[in-house]
Symmetry: C2
Subunit: 294 residues, 2 copies
Amino acid sequence: MTDLKNRLSNYQEEINTAIDQYLPKQNSMPPIIHEAMRYSALSKGKRIRPILALETVNMFSNEYKKAMPAAVAIELAHCFTLVHDDLPSIDDDDLRRGVLTNHKVYGDGMALLAGDALLIDAFRVISDFQKPLEVVPTVISLLSNALSSNGVIGGQVVDILAEKNSLKHDYENLKYLHLNKTAKLIQASVLIGAEISQVERSKINILKDASEKIGIAFQIKDDLLDVLGDVNKIGKNIGRDEELGKLTYPKVFGITQAKKMSDNLKFESIDLLKQIDNSDKLIEIFEFLVDRNF
Amino acid sequence: MTDLKNRLSNYQEEINTAIDQYLPKQNSMPPIIHEAMRYSALSKGKRIRPILALETVNMFSNEYKKAMPAAVAIELAHCFTLVHDDLPSIDDDDLRRGVLTNHKVYGDGMALLAGDALLIDAFRVISDFQKPLEVVPTVISLLSNALSSNGVIGGQVVDILAEKNSLKHDYENLKYLHLNKTAKLIQASVLIGAEISQVERSKINILKDASEKIGIAFQIKDDLLDVLGDVNKIGKNIGRDEELGKLTYPKVFGITQAKKMSDNLKFESIDLLKQIDNSDKLIEIFEFLVDRNF
């Protein structure tokens, strides 16, 4: 576990340095937007998605640095979703990653624009820095499809509709929600790593299934932590899902069953990964996604 | 003028058909977000930016259809900026393109997400449909840089700061505002057309200067129409700039001088375009951008 901790911590440090490098400088005109962008993009995140991309590349070649622009882009896009989700017109959250949410510091209008700019910069960073150039269209296709109204945004919409009881709190909607809101970007992170490594189709298909399963398991764990977690460890308020009337696994299946479902998805996912040589480090990270307590 | 009118109208029709084709179907899950996206993307816009891209391609090859995915992407990105600008936390506008703004119909949260999804789809459409593949990184770089915090978003930030009197209402800030908020996306539209046509650097440099000038002139005209225009023709409320205390050319220079500055930029821009063979049709459109009364 200490090895994994160090490994994650090294990745986090390199990713943070790269985010700092690829974002516009804090004092570039107009400074306030760059301050707001950096406030959220450089806050203390786990960097799970970019780490998944880098670790996937490492599984095939040890040349993970070549995927750094795409990894940064994935994290910027993820930060965009957080900044917008926290806005008053969506979840109206005050706390994120242990600090005040973006709009609580910079105001609603500036937070909206900072979120927009982070999303735009995700695509700017890939198109300006990702090499080799021939993988750029695929990387952008994977990222944009995962984020789209048939992905993260679609999941967010169902999340809101479920809160308002405009959608049934049933398993079908729950599956849609977790697949789209969370699993698709987790999956895209792994697949972007695989595409940058230019590996064969059969391996990509295995990674596709494995990463979808772990992505859903990861969101179930997030639901569980919202009930059982410690605010000081997870850096956001606890019990918000219940408060907002959200559609979650613990709500539909109860805590014990939700935990079992999450573990089962983890085991299935890892069984798939075992079919690929040299996958032990990626497996450790997959395990961490579900076994973590923050 | 009738020829130009027909020409614009033909382009508009083809662009609308393509937007309809590339956006997710109205009934795809979850339908409400796709309805909201289509409401704004298929509203009665002039389609100036995608037309500039297509007309630039036509100047070099008559094969404008090859640029259609990029043209659609440019318009989707432009629609994203409008939907977010109209939100209560920014300009709080009720009327756009002659109909209620997105949030007035779908609510603030859904409009926020619809704007996000339109922006994401801009990049999705280019990466999934634009050919040849080798121009995709350049097209995405041009679009994302133009939209970024050093482009449209940066301009939008200065717009808000000027409204709040947090920035001087002087010529320097005014130039920054019009260059970034408006000219850069106009310029990117022309340059995307040129890059898809794979023309030589010297011509791209001319187009770069010409399109920046016409982009600024276009925004000065927009400022003038907000004072002098007819709400039934321009489809948004008149006098809003004054009401919101916006930084505009008429405000800093007066109406007569602003008109002169806009015309001068137009003439300089057209003089540049005349250096390129077969540019007469693009020149007509440049003239229209400043001579229009809607």
